[in-house]
Symmetry: C2
Subunit: 226 residues, 2 copies
DNA sequence: CCTTCGTTTAACAATTTTGTTAAACATAAA
DNA sequence: TTTATGTTTAACAAAATTGTTAAACGAAGG
């Protein structure tokens, strides 16, 4: 049978992701996608039937990936504050890689709220429930102000995602170059933690920025147990 | 001369705003706009030359309005924390009225970063400079954790705007109805203040939700001076 | 070698969308 | 009433965009 040089279907998907999530062409044409992928436009219809179905596929993968990321961090066995640190790191780093992913999700789910419902069955455990116990403990100890798990999560999402979403606004408001903006986002990781917990973030995590992740974090975990 | 029944130009603009900012049809067609306004499509080109120029006009007005709103609050003579409270109130309330305004600005400025530069001349006083003195005072008194004015402003913007931008995401994540969502946003006003200042927001403001604004706030100002 | 079948292509058709234009219209002024 | 001018309309043209289809292609299997 005719075997494609590469897996055309995923080539198209990857190209579309690059266009939508990285370059920010949220209304990229089937022609643009095909050109960028170096394939015939008809192939998009061959594999996905229509532009909309391709977009649906991208949305589904993006949402699932994002949700799994949150859950795997929140479900881990680390101390609460470390989970949050990890999450901040993950979101900001991913935001730098795919600057328009969040905007894509927001725009698309705003246009078709039903799709979101299909993607997120309500029988699942809510992420707010996953932190409620830890959070209430923090509150009871008087470490942070009383706040519902629902609001706390949205605080976290807001502080992480908005600066990514509103890149141009932020840059312009503060007169920042692209590199200044990137540094700003790196600095923000600590600021977000500090804003949520009203306490300077443990620096150890950031020392070896590039190499270690899990290792240094695990160490921090032990240290914090005290 | 031929005088229109209403000012057609502003009718078109207002209709477009309703479509873009309220209904969230960020890619509304000239035909859709014309239909919604009940005018001939050609009039859009007569008054604005092209769809893009109409969009530019909307963007400019939206950005200016939003910026003026921030500045007039920050420039007022109230105590710092009251300004912030006022700002939170203003943004959330406006966000409920024009749910897609922020998304419009973000999407449009992401597509054409240059337009943003034109709209915001850099010789203007930065809004971060307008709060730096007050903020540093708070920090020095040990009332809040050390944070740059730049980050503090983005914290504020993030906490206010993201839940509006990501309505569907938030709603779905917490399984909220539309009314539950609206209540959530109202509650958030206090949460945002509390998150920024690590202290419960003075309740007086919210008691008489509908009638007073400036009056009750002024009172609070006096009370806080102590 | 030739058939088969999944893949790919080019060409076509239909629809949508934007932009233009000449003529119709309405009112104020002459 | 006529004229002049700004406004509105319908009709047209052009471009962009999506979706379909029949034919070409190319390797695997007989």
């Amino acid at each position: 049978m005719g075997i494609p040089e590469v897996q055309t279907e995923s080539l198209i998907k990857d190209t579309a992701k690059a266009l939508f999530f990285q370059k920010g062409v949220l209304n990229a044409t089937t022609q643009e996608i095909a050109d960028e992928a170096g394939v015939n436009r008809a192939l998009i219809h061959y594999y996905f039937r229509s532009r909309e179905l391709l977009v649906d596929t991208l949305l589904e993968e993006a949402v699932n990936e994002k949700r799994d990321r949150i859950r795997s961090i929140l479900a881990s066995e680390r101390p609460f504050r470390e989970k949050i640190l990890l999450y901040i790191d993950a979101v900001v780093d991913q935001g730098l890689k795919y600057p328009h992913l969040e905007n894509f999700i927001i725009t698309e789910t705003a246009r078709h709220p039903d799709k979101m419902k299909i993607l997120c069955p309500k029988d699942r455990v809510k992420s707010s429930d996953m932190i409620r116990k830890d959070l209430d403990e923090e509150i009871q100890k008087g470490l942070i102000q009383p706040v519902s798990a629902e609001h706390f999560i949205i605080n976290l999402l807001s502080l992480c995602n908005y600066p990514l979403l509103a890149k141009t606004v932020v840059q312009n408001m503060h007169g920042m170059s692209d590199t200044a903006y990137r540094k700003f986002l790196q600095d923000r990781k600590d600021i977000i933690y500090q804003t949520l917990f009203n306490e300077t973030a443990p620096g150890i995590l950031r020392k070896e920025e590039h190499s270690a992740e899990v290792h240094s974090i695990k160490k921090t975990a032990e240290q914090k147990k005290e």
